[in-house]
Assembly symmetry: C2
Homo-oligomer: 348 residues x 2
């Protein structure tokens, strides 16, 4: 028998944040691809687009007009998935028909009035303004009694369901703790109770020692490819100090966070010299009024691309029914990502 080599042989890795496994198939990276290609015709966008419903001063689909904003701008989503209205709930929906009403608030956060930008093309100061808004929004929503979790995220690129290229993200604040966050919390909690340190404190320490999955870091944050990453170029930003949520960030930490966001997203754009699509979002403590010493701020980046701007990874069939599967190993992805410049390809 040959000896096992994680660079060559199929294996499964354990994800301690979700208590799940991922199938890694390093030998599969060079299969030929005859399937769907994404359209990548990227046009340079103007700084102002009269037809964009997120641009300064424009009218939205529901007839409301945006103010003439500069920098960031936040408004309630006109077609949110949640409603803030309180409803009376008396009927019983139990057993196989278990159902509970859900209340919440959906907001849109424009990152800049400039229609042509994306995070990596903004300055650290401009990104810092976005981080300020995330913190303000978190503080504002956290005090509401019926808001127990606040999901801050960005869908970037039409391939990720983003229907408008104007730089923006979303905030979904709701009364329940959503399934994956609850799962992560359970995992963080049992680790914390056992070890009196957060899972991510210990994990980050071990990753810094191992080195082979580290992408970039600064004084306050590190970006790495998780050992259990399932998307080809999945990464995670972790605060070096334990912070339960974004409300705990100091001015300096917000600057550092903006700086690592700029570096990581620039490296992403440089990978295939394209505006790199992803869904990214922050996982942090719920705002349910309970103590959460187990929580440790982190941000996930789930990018769909695999081999080029045109060829994405399909998480389908086996992945939907059985478990996530990846070809290129996390260590190979890291080596590729960290070799990339932090100067944006358009600025060279």
């Amino acid at each position: 028998n040959t000896s096992f080599d994680p660079k060559k042989h199929p294996h499964r890795r354990y994800n301690p944040l979700l208590d799940e496994w991922v199938l890694v198939s390093p030998q599969r990276a060079n299969r030929p691809w005859q399937g769907q290609r994404e359209i990548t015709a990227e046009k340079d966008r103007p700084a102002y687009d009269p037809d964009c419903y997120l641009c300064s001063g424009n009218i939205r689909a529901n007839g409301n007009r945006n103010p003439e904003y500069k920098g960031t701008y936040v408004f309630n989503n006109d077609f949110g998935a949640l409603l803030n209205e309180e409803v009376d709930f008396s009927e019983e929906y139990s057993g196989f028909f278990t159902l509970l009403p859900e209340r919440g608030i959906n907001r849109v956060v424009c990152f800049s009035e400039d229609h042509s930008l994306t995070l990596p093309e903004m300055s650290v100061e401009q990104i810092k303004n976005v981080v300020d808004v995330w913190q303000e929004q978190f503080n504002e929503l956290a005090v509401l009694d019926h808001i127990n979790y606040i999901q801050i995220f960005e869908n970037k690129g039409s391939i990720m369901g983003c229907s408008n290229p104007h730089p923006h993200g979303q905030i979904w604040a709701q009364s329940s703790i959503p399934a994956m966050v609850q799962k992560t919390q359970d995992q963080l909690k049992s680790y914390f109770e056992k070890n009196k340190r957060t899972l991510l404190q210990d994990y980050l320490q071990q990753e810094i020692t191992a080195g082979e999955r580290m992408i970039t870091e600064n004084e306050d944050f590190a970006a790495l490819v998780p050992f259990w990453a399932s998307w080809p170029y999945e990464t995670m930003i972790i605060s070096k100090q334990k912070r339960e949520n974004i409300a705990a960030f100091s001015e300096d930490e917000k600057k550092s966070f903006a700086a690592i966001l700029k570096n990581l997203t620039t490296m992403y754009d440089n990978l295939f010299e394209t505006s790199f699509p992803y869904s990214a979002g922050i996982h942090q403590s719920p705002t349910d009024g309970k103590e959460h010493p187990e929580w440790h701020f982190h941000m996930h980046f789930y990018p769909p691309l695999l081999r080029s701007a045109e060829i994405k990874k399909f998480m389908v069939g086996y992945e939907m029914l059985a478990e996530p599967q990846r070809d290129i190993t996390p260590e190979q992805s890291t080596a590729i990502l960290r070799s990339l410049s932090t100067i944006h390809y358009k600025k060279k």
Copy 2:
């Protein structure tokens, strides 16, 4: 306060097969869509394509030649995600770096020599041949000591990562029980231990009584939209009698299964008068040599389309970070699906 109405108000539903929740937002169905549209230019395909690596007698990417087959044809995937080779594993990968080698066999199952067909366009007899092959393959792989779970599935349509329109599915047989199957098994087991009936026996009974999520049925199988479905037109086929796996199907049951597969996939094609894409796959008992009285054969259909052949549901941002979310309710989807003919639109 208004009274809660599941047709109007956001709510969460519980999925007892995965112990997860899904967010349902009925009020969101009519938001305008300015985002990505799928390309649907469907060409009529010839019955034989000289460039197709799955057609009878053609050469595959690795140089092997397919026999001049008629009907079904099975071969080992030339670029499988698993390797059948046994490897020595001695190094320790533990804690945050937990990893285990995985062995397995990947097969491709051509449904027909006719390049132009898809399941709904095949006759019940032709589909029955596919079901026969699934059963044979299951039996053949189940006896192998190192094969403990057999995932039978189909990715249909380029939007679902299918790289070749020739009608075919896949079988991934492996040494571990994959994450989602394990989760389902845990749920089925705890239900069975408590109730001495399978979860799906009781669930199906209650759905037949309720009626509002039933799509189509015959003597041996029912197709319905699960109460907790997350994809807009997600469905599930359940055996009416408890069957642990496909090996237990009689000749008559295989015919009934073929018949319901034809009806369901035809209704799907008729929905948007397009070759309806999906990932579908069978969940059944592991082949790990243990007793599995808790298992109950079922097949999941996860189709990506939402509003038309061009507009799909994006399971992105919130869905990747928090939990699955849907707009149209399962009851609305059922009403639409079951109003459709079981005669294929191309044959009218």
